[in-house]
Symmetry: C2
């Protein structure tokens, strides 16, 4: 049996080497320095701030599924494409969200301005496409098909961003703001890319359509569970396992699943009033929101909701045409997500 941890570490190094090479070959224009900075490949000449790597979870998942299904010579290219695309979305998201910091460092637009942020992000999306076409050239059968699959999913992620803008725009009491609308938004904005990574790995290794579809649903469920757990953590974990501010989602009055559940099953009038308040919430008010959530049963409902997807990912992993060891690796990934929130009790496997 291969040591999966070692394999993934080595392959991840190859993915980053591929992206660094791509940025190097693109040229010496400072625009590419900005992208190097954002990807965490060292200092920029004029702004000596060291960027930091993201977790590279999506590209690792792609490399993993490719490996489990027999390997692919273009998996590294697709992993690079997924990582480039993911970071491209972050560059533009930081602009529209006005976020000044990411991974403890100033965001790209914060250092160089929004105009450069938009344009450098565009360049990064073109680099993504460059890698996809390179893979398509290397492998005329699975390469082209996988590149098309990924591009289709990338478009869905833009749709997710669109849905996020819309949800943000409406008030908590608006009839358009439903748990279903929220789910569809996080599905497209977050979960689809995890599904895309899992399925692209399999497709590049030559899996048939049924397996590719299963891999997509596995990743998508994993991504949904991860996001719902993240929403839970933001409210019920005071010390951030995620490194995020306690009660961040309440302070920002985000319409995540717990808020929507509490609105539909608790004191909607008071909650809506607090969510529409123009001023910053006081500490007492934040505690009041948490109490409304608790009384409505939102905590348990959110946990149950996450567990639905955790269970779904787990059962798909077990149904894949793989040996038990390989299935175990995919199931272990699910358990990792399930464990992120200590407050969420994981049912027995």
């Amino acid at each position: 049996m291969i040591d999966m941890q070692t394999f993934l570490q080595e392959e991840s190094v190859r993915v980053d080497a591929k992206i660094e090479q791509l940025l190097h070959e693109a040229g010496s224009l400072p625009m590419y320095h900005m992208l190097r900075y954002f990807m965490g490949y060292g200092n920029d000449l004029r702004h000596p701030t060291q960027g930091t790597h993201g977790k590279r979870t999506r590209s690792s998942l792609l490399l993993l599924t490719a490996k489990l299904f027999g390997g692919s010579s273009v998996a590294v290219d697709f992993a690079a494409a997924v990582e480039l695309f993911h970071n491209f979305t972050l560059i533009h998201d930081d602009i529209v969200d006005n976020d000044e910091m990411r991974r403890g460092q100033p965001t790209l637009w914060k250092l160089w301005g929004k105009d450069h942020g938009i344009n450098s992000g565009d360049a990064q999306l073109l680099l993504t496409n460059q890698v996809l076409l390179e893979a398509a050239r290397k492998d005329a059968v699975y390469g082209v098909a996988t590149a098309q699959l990924l591009t289709q999913y990338f478009l869905e992620i833009c749709e997710g961003q669109y849905l996020d803008f819309e949800l943000t725009k409406y008030a908590l009491h608006d009839p358009l703001v439903t748990p279903e609308a929220y789910l569809e938004m996080i599905r497209k904005k977050t979960a689809v890319l995890v599904g895309a990574a899992a399925s692209a790995g399999g497709m590049s290794a030559g899996c048939d359509d049924e397996v590719v579809q299963k891999l997509f649903t596995y990743g998508e469920s994993l991504g949904l569970a991860y996001q719902i757990v993240d929403d839970h953590v933001s409210i019920w974990e005071e010390t951030g396992a995620t490194g995020k501010r306690a009660y961040g989602d309440i302070i920002e009055r985000k319409k995540t699943y717990p808020a929507l559940f509490a609105r539909d099953h608790g004191d909607a009038t008071r909650l809506t009033a607090l969510y529409e308040k123009k001023e910053t919430l006081t500490e007492d008010e934040v505690r009041e929101v948490v109490n409304i959530f608790e009384k409505s049963g939102a905590r348990e409902a959110t946990e149950a909701y996450a567990h639905t997807y955790i269970e779904n990912a787990r059962s798909i992993a077990r149904s894949l045409p793989l040996d038990d060891t390989s299935k175990g690796i995919l199931v272990a990934l699910v358990e990792k997500v399930a464990r992120v929130a200590g407050t969420i009790e994981t049912p027995p496997m």
Copy 2:
């Protein structure tokens, strides 16, 4: 002999049909309505403003060179990709330039906000990639190679936008603001896409590297001539042949070729003072700038500069491995650019 005008009109209809189909298949999310609006395909449900078509010059050039070199089954796809990409750059350019109107209609961001402008633009670039991959799938030899060629040039256009930001940032007297820097900026930002269109048409029809390169230089020269003529028109044509405001580039204190020439060969002190003035220029001051330009010989120098590229495009057209009629069609395109500015005397063919 085929009727080239009829051919191009029919093919252009196919290109727009292709783009409309793509937007239709993408789905009914209002994000795609925004793109339909910007591409000029009719009303948006919530904003009943009719968009207007652009001139589709780049895609027509691509279809033309493909046809002249024997035709290609994927030329329509590449023409659609070039048109989608060009309009994608406009969607994002309008945001960074804060332009509220284009083709006599409100810009995309003006109607739906900058966040949607960024995100819908991103979606349009992904649709561009989708068409490129479709062509790559249809034609494993020329399709993939042409898609790669175009993507490489698309990246150069982002570099051009970067250079434009930099040039705009520096004052007229800054040593970094040179005619060479200006030329490199308009080359990448404007001319490269014209070259890309001309060469992609040839490559998709199976031309060898030498011809593909010649076609690129032909288009690039055409694009450069067009841009320099446009700069000339902005200053020396009071009634806009281009529909633009008289003296627009002077009012906005743009550092185009005439300004740089006048700075280097005329009253640099006074010109620099006027270009650094914070307030809007008075009518007298605008006239003063024109006079400084005239005295320095900037008008003749700009005309000579444009003619260099016009002559270059013309001589490349004549050197292509085509019959005289076909060469004549490409030369005629050059003459069209040369004639845009009535003030620019065209030397005999």
